[in-house]
């Protein structure tokens, strides 16, 4: 602290004489003092932080990491078909069918997996790589169930039987997919999350537009978040500016008006919009009764409804940090600028606004990253083309129980957000602390 005020004084004194020398001295002084600080406080600091770090590790980092690894680790097929795995270990020829021993191992595995309840997950995994595998396995299971339990066919007869039952058991692609699926480490989910797929022969190809949608959904998610952030900034900044200018007695009710919706459950607020916005809802009825519009506006189940509700929910996240910063901005700088001849708006733009930029940036970042993760508001108030990526993560987690793809999509969102955050930090970090004034 002492060094920084000294260096500031140094700059203002010698501003015209040796700005470079004073700045250089200040920069040289800072690391030495910083090193002194670190030596003294390290152990105490670590001890104080340890419980929090442990808590975050156990209840946040470890569960999130274990869920994300599901995106690349899927041992469903390995668990269901152990004998087939061993039998296939020696088979390397691609383009030919495996020996009869593999077929009898597979038949044994299918029945054992069905009894143990592991066949379903294996069928689901295989079906993702080669559509139709689930039907093939289910029908083969029925066929094997219907066999006479007393007959014990030898491996050759079994192979002929299976190949005769369904031609797909003679196709090399079926066996290539099965062999690859027996390895638990898989890139298939991540590939699918970036709109690519791996063909049975191992090559990676991009998916057509009727199946490869996730990158465009990611783009849509970022776009909606950006628009919401911009709207929140345009509405929140003037609100906070006005709030800051009020006498403290009048600030309190306005602050309550911002905080009470903030404290209300998010689901309650969204359901409230479902009552207020429809064609026969409050907004349209009021506007029609004062003849402002002829036909009811379509404010719900489209992008407008999503923007309205998300802005409403996220404004407090902008107002609160911005208010905290604005409170500490001295009033006299703007007045001084005006008294020196600046236009009032120019004074605001060049003197006041830059001082509130840290609060604005913090609020904008908070709003943007919160908006990226939203799925309830678009799901309940948006149309088909308004769903954000989190909706699909929730869909694959809850409805279709495809945790691998859900984890891969979550990884995609996490990586995209992290990259954006790094870019933001690099852009923000270029300004040195001295330039803030």
């Amino acid at each position: 602290m002492a060094s920084s005020t000294q260096s500031v004084a140094g700059v203002s004194h010698t501003a015209r004489d040796e700005p470079a020398g004073a700045a250089a001295a200040a920069t040289a002084a800072r690391p030495a003092i910083a090193r002194l600080r670190l030596r003294g406080d390290v152990r105490g600091a670590l001890l104080l932080v340890a419980p929090l770090v442990l808590f975050m590790l156990v209840f946040f980092a470890v569960p999130v990491a274990s869920l994300l690894t599901r995106g690349v680790w899927d041992d469903a097929v390995q668990k269901a078909f152990p004998a087939t795995r061993i039998a296939l270990a020696g088979w390397h020829t691609h383009g030919d069918v495996p020996p009869p021993a593999v077929y009898s191992a597979l038949a044994h595995d299918i029945l054992a997996a069905d009894a143990a309840g592991t066949l379903g997950d294996a069928a689901a995994r295989l079906n993702q790589n080669l559509p139709g595998m689930r039907a093939l396995l289910t029908r083969t299971r029925h066929h094997l169930d219907d066999r006479d339990p007393m007959s014990a066919p030898d491996a050759g007869t079994l192979q002929q039987g299976l190949r005769g039952f369904d031609a797909r058991w003679s196709e090399p692609s079926t066996w290539q997919v099965l062999e690859r699926a027996l390895r638990p480490l898989t890139a298939d989910n991540l590939l699918r999350a970036v709109d690519h797929t791996r063909l049975p022969d191992g090559s990676i190809v991009p998916l057509g537009s009727d199946e490869g949608v996730y990158l465009s959904i990611l783009g849509r998610t970022f776009w909606i978040s950006a628009v919401v952030t911009m709207l929140v900034t345009l509405l929140g900044y003037p609100l906070t500016y006005w709030l800051n200018g009020l006498p403290p007695a009048r600030q309190r009710p306005v602050m309550l008006a911002v905080l009470i919706p903030f404290w209300t459950s998010i689901l309650v607020r969204i359901c409230a919009w479902m009552v207020v916005l429809p064609q026969s809802g409050l907004v349209n009825r009021v506007l029609m009764s004062v003849d402002a519009i002829d036909h009811p506006l379509a404010l719900l189940y489209n992008r407008t409804g999503v923007y309205i509700s998300m802005v409403h929910i996220l404004i407090p996240f902008m107002v609160l940090p911005l208010f905290a910063v604005m409170r500490n901005v001295p009033r006299n700088y703007t007045l001084a600028a005006i008294s020196l001849g600046s236009h009032p708006f120019g004074a605001f733009w060049r003197v006041y606004l830059p001082q509130t930029l840290p609060g604005l940036a913090a609020g904008a970042m908070l709003v943007f990253i919160s908006a990226l993760g939203y799925y309830i508001a678009p799901a309940l108030l948006g149309g088909a083309g308004d769903q954000m990526l989190s909706y699909y993560i929730a869909y694959f987690t809850n409805v279709s129980v495809n945790w691998g793809l859900a984890a891969a999509l979550a990884t995609l969102l996490l990586v995209a957000t992290a990259l954006l955050f790094i870019v933001y930090r690099m852009a923000a970090g270029r300004r040195t602390p001295l330039e803030g004034l």
């Binding site: 689901a124 959904i217 026969s280 189940y301 129980v401």
Partner: protein
Amino acid sequence: MRIATGLCAIAALLTAHAALARPLAVINYGGTLADAQQSAFVEPFQKAAGIDVTATSYSGEQAKVKAMVDASQVTWDVVEVESTDVGRGCDSGMYERIDWKAVPDATHLTKDAKTRCGVGLFAWANAYAYNTTTLKNPPQGWTDFWDTKKYPGKRGMRKSARGNLEFALMADGVKPADVYKVLATPAGVDRAFKKLDQLRPYIQWWDAGAQPAQFLVGGDVAMSTVFSGRIITAQKSGQPLAIVWNGAIADYDYWVIPKGSPMKAEAMKFINYTIAPQAQTDYLARQPGGPVNTQALARMSPEQLANLPNTPEHSKIGLVNDREFWDEHGDDLDQRFAAWAAR
């Protein structure tokens, strides 16, 4: 000494409390369904069998069941699931196998109500409904649903491939009896998606069974695919809605027991109670639909019979959901539909 005794007493009390059996947890789809089950199943069963039952609702996410079964911490004992989940969940080892020899009413149940892991609960129909005050000219079938010139306005549809693909084929002229044959071919699937593309700008998606009635009454959609039972209940409470039975798909809800439930015997007792004729009639008097127990048909009033999805008249113009078809092709069609709906 006294402190030690005190601590021992407290410990004994706590362990005794933990050893007491918890109430049987029955999970259903909520809304009017839950109310009907409460009066027709839960309360009479509690009195008759002396077993405490708590009924809670969920919206069909099997992820919770899977998480419970994987962690071996099963707190749900009887869960109501759709035909979508009953086959796949069984194959994935999420549900207990049903010992049909131990089910007394097994011989009276309809064929579709008996599956490896699920016991049928009741039958309902996937059809469509409209607001009688806004649509003066009643629509007749799926071609009318797709006709946005004759009947302008949005269409509510369930956000799921199941049902919508069959409806699209029927709108394209396929007879109900041939729908699954056509849908089993790749050309048929393309045909269904092309037909859905025609309707896409007008579709408003819904997820929960209670939403279509709200859309129709609120005026946001002109017609919507619905669960028949919910609309009949809304009609009874005075809403101006009507169902189109032409081309309706009859389907079942099933009871399943998550694998590893500690109260499996009590769960089976509850299930057996609900499929008995008297319980079925009581339930269907409140939640309109079809019984799984053929003996219950004799006890139903003519008015109730008219609303069944599987009456002779309705069966002629509709079809029954082909569970095996969806078990086999569900994964592919669901993914393709999800990608189609995302655009």
